[in-house]
């Protein structure tokens, strides 16, 4: 680095004379990124992060003109996309980036599952990641209602209805989420609060923890890689080599994002009408589709329990087990691969794919 140009050298020195940010640089520098067949998956965490940053930026921009409330939300979004210069772009970006973020988070999560990077010593990194994933879904669910259009209104109605099925806590939770018995303007205001204050704060907290963990422990090595002899373990420095590659990935995502925003503008549709009957084909966002479809396919009663309830409990239990997988995977903690879990993982992926497709074609 000493051979850098004069000016940047001076600047560095100028700073160094005043502030010692060595520890931060060290944190970035000491990390190395292993190079192997699966290096590509290391990019998805960063991409999820980038998309989150896009969400924060565009979200704050939307806040300049967005007005929550049943009789102003729809109008204000309409105002943004018709009257505000590049408002169409900001809104479309926020919507598309939300979807890509969920997708990237899915990929990030499953890739980590398959390389068992949750194993010792990264149990808490996995747990914090799971929380981030849940919060991401929460962002999507709450944000979806904010434009107060017909589809969102009914999707939220159906989505929150499902929560109400859970015994004991379901009903109070439903009322807490909706802010009233039904989905109304009160729900919109609540969701707005969740979406722009509660969730971002929580998310940032866990994100910081998540990133500190990762930065401190470095990238997890796949089991096969860790068994290679030292001289065969190729790697690169996180900073600047990997970071620059990350940057290239982000720029590609940015291009894809703007392409989607421009050529497939996010529709606004019709304003929600509390008294209208539900239009045909109410569908949740695609990332909730597999759950929605499962609940739809379940018979009304199964083993003396209401089918829908069973489904919800099943998904709840599944998510819990999924989150606790580092504590189950004994082989993983012994740094051995676990074919059983791999099969389960593949089955889950196939299940999600099949149910999602079924949700759209059935």
């Amino acid at each position: 680095m000493a051979a850098d140009t004069k000016t940047s050298f001076d600047l560095k020195k100028w700073f160094k004379d005043r502030y010692d940010f060595g520890p931060f640089l060290d944190l970035a520098k000491h990390k190395i990124v292993p190079i192997h067949h699966h290096t590509i998956w290391y990019y998805f965490g960063g991409i999820t992060l980038f998309l989150f940053l896009v969400q924060v930026l565009t979200g704050i921009l939307l806040l300049l003109y967005y007005r929550p409330g049943a009789d102003s939300a729809f109008e204000s979004v309409q105002f943004i996309i018709t009257q505000v210069k590049f408002g169409w772009l900001i809104r479309s970006l926020h919507s598309w980036s939300a979807n890509l973020m969920v997708l990237a988070a899915f990929i990030h999560m499953f890739s980590n599952f398959f390389v068992q990077s949750y194993r010792k010593p990264r149990e808490f990194t996995w747990l914090s990641g799971m929380l981030l994933f849940g919060l991401t879904l929460g962002f999507g669910f709450s944000g979806y209602l904010l434009p107060w259009n017909e589809l969102a209104f009914f999707a939220t109605k159906v989505g929150t209805d499902i929560i109400g099925v859970v015994p004991v806590v379901g009903k109070p939770l439903l009322i807490f989420l909706r802010g009233s018995e039904d989905v109304t303007g009160a729900t919109l205001n609540r969701f707005f609060g969740f979406h722009v204050a509660l969730l971002p704060l929580t998310f940032l907290g866990f994100l910081t923890i998540h990133l500190l963990f990762v930065q401190d422990q470095g990238m997890a090595e796949p089991i096969s890689y860790s068994k290679l002899p030292k001289e065969k373990q190729r790697s690169m420095a996180f900073f600047p080599n990997f970071v620059l590659r990350d940057l290239i990935g982000w720029l590609f995502v940015l291009i894809i994002l703007t392409l989607l925003a421009l050529f497939f503008p996010w529709e606004l549709g019709k304003k929600a009408d509390l008294f209208a009957s539900a239009p045909a084909g109410i569908k949740p966002e695609w990332y909730f589709m597999f759950m929605f479809q499962t609940l739809k396919l379940l018979p009304s009663t199964l083993f003396f329990i209401e089918g829908e309830l069973l489904g919800i409990l099943g998904f709840g239990l599944g998510a819990l087990l999924w989150a606790l997988v580092p504590f189950f995977d004994k082989r993983g903690s012994e740094n051995r691969s676990n074919p059983f879990l791999r099969i389960i993982g593949v089955a889950i992926v196939l299940y999600i794919l099949a149910m999602t497709v079924a949700g759209y074609v059935l």
């Binding site: 309409q78 996309i81 018709t82 169409w88 772009l89 479309s92 690169m236 600047p240 080599n241 620059l244 590659r245 940057l247 290239i248 720029l251 590609f252 940015l254 291009i255 703007t258 392409l259 421009l262 503008p265």
Partner: protein, 429 residues
């Protein structure tokens, strides 16, 4: 028998004891004492039917009118002979010829009807005799409609009650009970497919399918109590009840005199009467299904033929331009460019097209063209907005291309930098 006792109490008037007893006894029941109901109910079947019908919310029953108020007789008598004796004013069931009079005893008496409603009309009886139904009845035809054929007998609802047989949406079916009867209508030399025609036409669709109560039922054109077919020369007066501006234009046009001379039934001459088709611009054609060609031919002494062609051309041009403007707006909207303003104007231009189509009833080329021109002006503006919207999209796309190229160059730059960096470290090590 308690029955007897109450009975007696009712009949003895004035005594103090009695009035005291009256207060204590079920006084209401005494008044409601109605041997007609009691006996008829017991007799069952057809004889009980009127009683059962009255209990279904009949307007007369609900105004506390009893059997005897129409049919006469003495409901206080237990004895059928006495109760239904002509001495007691018993009228029985009126013959068809007598029905109008039967109802009119009350319904053409304004003084009496005022007890129930101040706004209820009392001229139906008089009007009825002027109607085709009434005139035939007078001549001895008893298979025509009297009051009860339309309103029902013992279960009569006011016309404003949606259950009523004369509620606007139900009127066509009610008329069809007779007017769809082939044998009956043939006897009088009348059409029996009117209902089918009406139901297929614009008015029938609006009233029967869309339940638009503003759309005309049979009686809105033919009248109800004084029902007659509108004469050839006054059709426009009937239609103008709703189609006011169109009728005005027609009546002031040269067609008015020409149609009169030819004894053509005004609006109906082109639009038909019951099976009215939704108007198409094709109607203006001088060929095929067009109406203008039915009278006008190329060798017309007046300019009718030529004018028809030019009027159609004007309307066509506005319609086509408008479709083009609409598709421009649509294209821009699909591309995500906001076009609210343009859509608002487009609605204006659609209004203008409606006006121009209305204006053809003047059969005056200049007037039609003036109206079309106004529409074209708006349409032009819409098109311009549409083009601007598409330009905006082009601006967005080119902006995207430029920034994408810049970002791609940046990617290349970073990649070169990485390579350079790594080659350096590699060659160092």
């Amino acid at each position: 028998m308690s029955f007897k006792r109450r009975h007696v109490l009712c009949l003895i008037p004035a005594a103090l004891v009695v009035s005291l007893l009256l207060v204590l006894s079920p006084y209401e029941e005494c008044l409601a004492q109605n041997s007609c109901r009691d006996c008829h109910k017991e007799l069952g079947d057809a004889l009980a039917q009127p009683v059962l019908d009255m209990d279904k919310g009949d307007i007369h029953a609900s105004r506390n009118l009893s059997c005897a108020d129409c049919h006469g007789g003495d409901p206080t008598s237990e004895d059928a002979e006495i109760a239904m004796s002509s001495k007691k004013g018993f009228l029985g069931k009126p013959t068809t010829a007598k029905v109008p009079e039967f109802c009119a005893r009350c319904h053409s008496n304004p003084g009496y009807m005022r007890n129930y409603s101040v706004s209820i009309p009392t001229d139906q009886y008089e009007k009825y005799w002027g109607s085709q139904h009434g005139m035939t009845l007078k001549k001895g035809g008893t298979d025509v409609a009297t009051c009860i054929n339309c309103h029902g007998v013992h279960t009569i609802y006011p016309a404003k009650n949606p259950q009523s047989s004369v509620w606007p949406v139900s009127v066509p079916k009610t008329c069809d009970k007779c007017h769809g009867n082939e044998a009956l209508m043939k006897k009088y030399g009348r059409d029996y497919s009117t209902y089918k025609d009406y139901a297929a036409g614009v008015h029938g669709q609006a009233l029967l399918v869309k339940k638009d109560l503003g759309a005309p039922a049979c009686n809105d054109c033919h009248g109800n109590h004084g029902a007659v077919p509108p004469g050839v020369d006054i059709v426009a007066q009937v239609c103008r009840e709703c189609h006011a501006s169109t009728a005005e234009l027609f009546l002031s046009s040269p067609h008015k005199a020409a149609f009169d001379a030819l004894k053509l039934p005004e609006c109906v001459a082109c639009h038909s009467n019951h099976r009215i088709e939704r108007p198409k611009d094709q109607f203006l054609s001088v060929t095929g299904e067009g109406f203008c060609g039915k009278c006008h031919s190329a060798d017309d002494a007046n300019n009718g033929y030529k004018t028809a062609i030019l009027i159609k051309a004007a309307i066509d041009s506005l319609r086509e331009q408008q479709a083009e403007a609409a598709s421009l707006i649509d294209a821009a909207e699909k591309k995500g460019v906001a076009v609210n303003e343009a859509k608002f104007l487009l609605k204006d231009s659609q209004d203008a097209l409606l006006k121009s189509r209305d204006a053809i009833h003047t059969v005056n080329l200049e007037k039609v063209e003036a109206s079309v021109k106004a529409g074209l002006n708006i349409t032009q503006k819409v098109m311009q907005m549409g083009r601007q919207a598409l330009d905006e999209f082009r601006f967005r796309t080119s902006g995207w291309f430029i920034s994408t190229i810049l970002i791609l160059l940046l990617i290349i730059g970073i990649w070169l930098k990485i390579r350079q960096m790594e080659q350096r470290t590699n060659s160092k090590s």
